[in-house]
């Protein structure tokens, strides 16, 4: 339950960083804060991060259009699955292959 609330918070912030107009938010600053967000998430407990990663696709359904895709892809964009599989080389290779296939 807490994971869903935190995931909502993260999704809102992430959509702001990715979709806010350039006139209101410097693009390079947005990227910088996105990288910061990724660092924060990777430092989280692996179990909790797992819950967050699983929550993002669900939360994404609450959005529409471009924002929906952005929220759905949070885990992919921030390399969260790779962070969860950091100690599993086989899983990392599999994720890398999936990422290459996705382009």
């Amino acid at each position: 339950m807490i994971a869903m609330q935190v995931a909502n918070l993260i999704a809102e912030y992430y959509v702001f960083l990715q979709l806010t107009d350039e006139e209101e938010l410097n693009l390079d600053t947005a990227v910088k804060m996105t990288e910061s967000l990724a660092d924060h998430l990777e430092e989280m407990d692996k179990g909790f991060l797992r819950e967050l990663v699983d929550a993002f696709p669900v939360i994404g359904e609450e959005y529409s259009g471009e924002a929906r895709e952005v929220v759905r892809n949070i885990a992919h964009s921030l390399y969260l699955e790779e962070a969860l599989a950091a100690d599993d080389p086989v899983k990392l290779a599999e994720l890398e292959a999936l990422r290459d296939a996705r382009g």
């Binding site: 390079d28 600053t29 990227v31 996105t34 910061s36 992919h76 921030l78 382009g103």
Partner: protein
């Protein structure tokens, strides 16, 4: 001076070598023979020195163009002086014409050089004093060739040496003008000069014939010259194309305030980039499609490398857009980007992303925090 004509040749030649003048010629009957080069071109009659046209010794053709040497003998009357006098002394006033032979030297028969029966520049009755036809012809050839080539040479010289800081463009223009003149010359003078030579050959001296021949020959040479001229023009064109190496202005690095605050290590890592300034971020100005300019922020700069430090590499939509933006602005400023990441894992992610985006002007290296 009783030498035979054959025996006198060596001494006459040596005198010519020493003085530039031939000894006075005498006819078999002892009369001095002189050559009057001045003729009236309309009827071929002899004229006073300085009037009519000067035929013969390679000097000016007309009275107006008479040289000093011609003027020096302007007063010479051919048959009015004896052999014992020097050449300077033989000069007399033009009044000593055919109508007034000198009475004081009556024992020397005066040959009427101004006689209307002598229209040619080279008379057949003056074997001792007439200029050597071969020498005169060769001299005329030289003059003709010189006249033909003079303008071309002058044009080239002016084009190449007028301005010590001769620009390639000016040189090309000068050569173009010279070639135009040469092409115009090759179109007309050969024909015109040939016709002139044909019309003038009737009363021309050997030097005149040589000059006319050389003029035609010189223009024929100009006809053959275009190949050489074009090769020169082509070389100059290459020279014009070989512009100096373009020099680029130093990168226009701007600095904008960096207001992001954080206690996390990513902030310290970004601020520690080479060339970074506290509280400021180096920027390059990106030209938008509408011509407006917008800054692209980086973290540092080192020489031609503009540094962007990334604590974590992400594959978010705006991260990809930033990658394209950085690549474009770096190309616009002819710079190279450098992503500095803290670990080899991040470097692998960065390289993978650059490969997907086909970015070649941004490099990646690991810079430990």
């Amino acid at each position: 001076m009783s030498e035979s004509p054959h025996g006198r040749k060596p001494s006459a030649f040596s005198r010519w070598l020493r003085t530039g003048r031939l000894p006075p010629a005498v006819s078999p009957d002892g009369l001095e023979l002189k050559f009057n080069p001045w003729h009236d071109p309309t009827d071929g009659r002899f004229t006073f020195a300085g009037a009519g046209r000067h035929y013969g010794t390679g000097e000016a053709d007309t009275a107006s163009g008479a040289s000093s040497r011609t003027s020096a003998r302007a007063g010479a009357t051919p048959a009015s002086v004896g052999r014992s006098k020097s050449q300077t002394a033989t000069r007399s006033k033009p009044e000593t014409s055919r109508t007034r032979p000198p009475a004081s030297d009556a024992h020397r028969a005066v040959r009427p050089m101004s006689s209307p029966v002598q229209p040619r520049g080279i008379g057949g009755g003056r074997p001792g004093n007439e200029p050597n036809p071969v020498t005169e012809f060769v001299g005329g050839v030289g003059e003709g060739l010189h006249e033909v080539g003079r303008e071309t040479v002058a044009g080239v010289r002016a084009a190449l040496t007028t301005n010590p800081v001769t620009t390639v463009r000016n040189t090309g223009r000068g050569i173009a003008a010279m070639i135009d003149a040469a092409i115009a010359a090759e179109d007309t003078p050969a024909r015109i000069q040939a016709s002139r030579a044909a019309s003038a050959v009737a009363d021309a001296s050997a030097r005149d014939l040589g000059r006319a021949t050389a003029t035609v020959a010189g223009n024929v040479a100009l006809t053959a010259a275009p190949a050489a001229a074009l090769s020169k023009a082509a070389a100059l064109r290459r020279l014009r194309m070989a512009r100096p190496r373009t020099t680029f202005d130093p990168p226009q690095i701007g600095w904008v305030k960096e207001t992001t605050r954080s206690r996390k290590p990513w902030k310290a890592y970004n601020d520690a980039a080479t060339g970074a300034q506290p509280g400021l971020a180096p920027t390059l100005m990106r030209t938008m499609a509408d011509g407006s300019k917008r800054p692209v922020k980086f973290d540092g700069i080192q020489g031609d490398y503009v540094i962007d430090r990334k604590w974590k590499v992400v594959d978010a939509p705006r991260a990809r857009a930033q990658l394209l933006r950085q690549s474009k602005v770096l190309a616009e400023h002819r710079l190279i980007g450098m992503w500095e990441v803290p670990t080899p894992v991040q470097k692998a992610k960065a390289l993978e992303l650059l490969k997907k985006m086909n970015i070649a002007n941004i490099h990646v290296k690991v810079a430990k925090p």
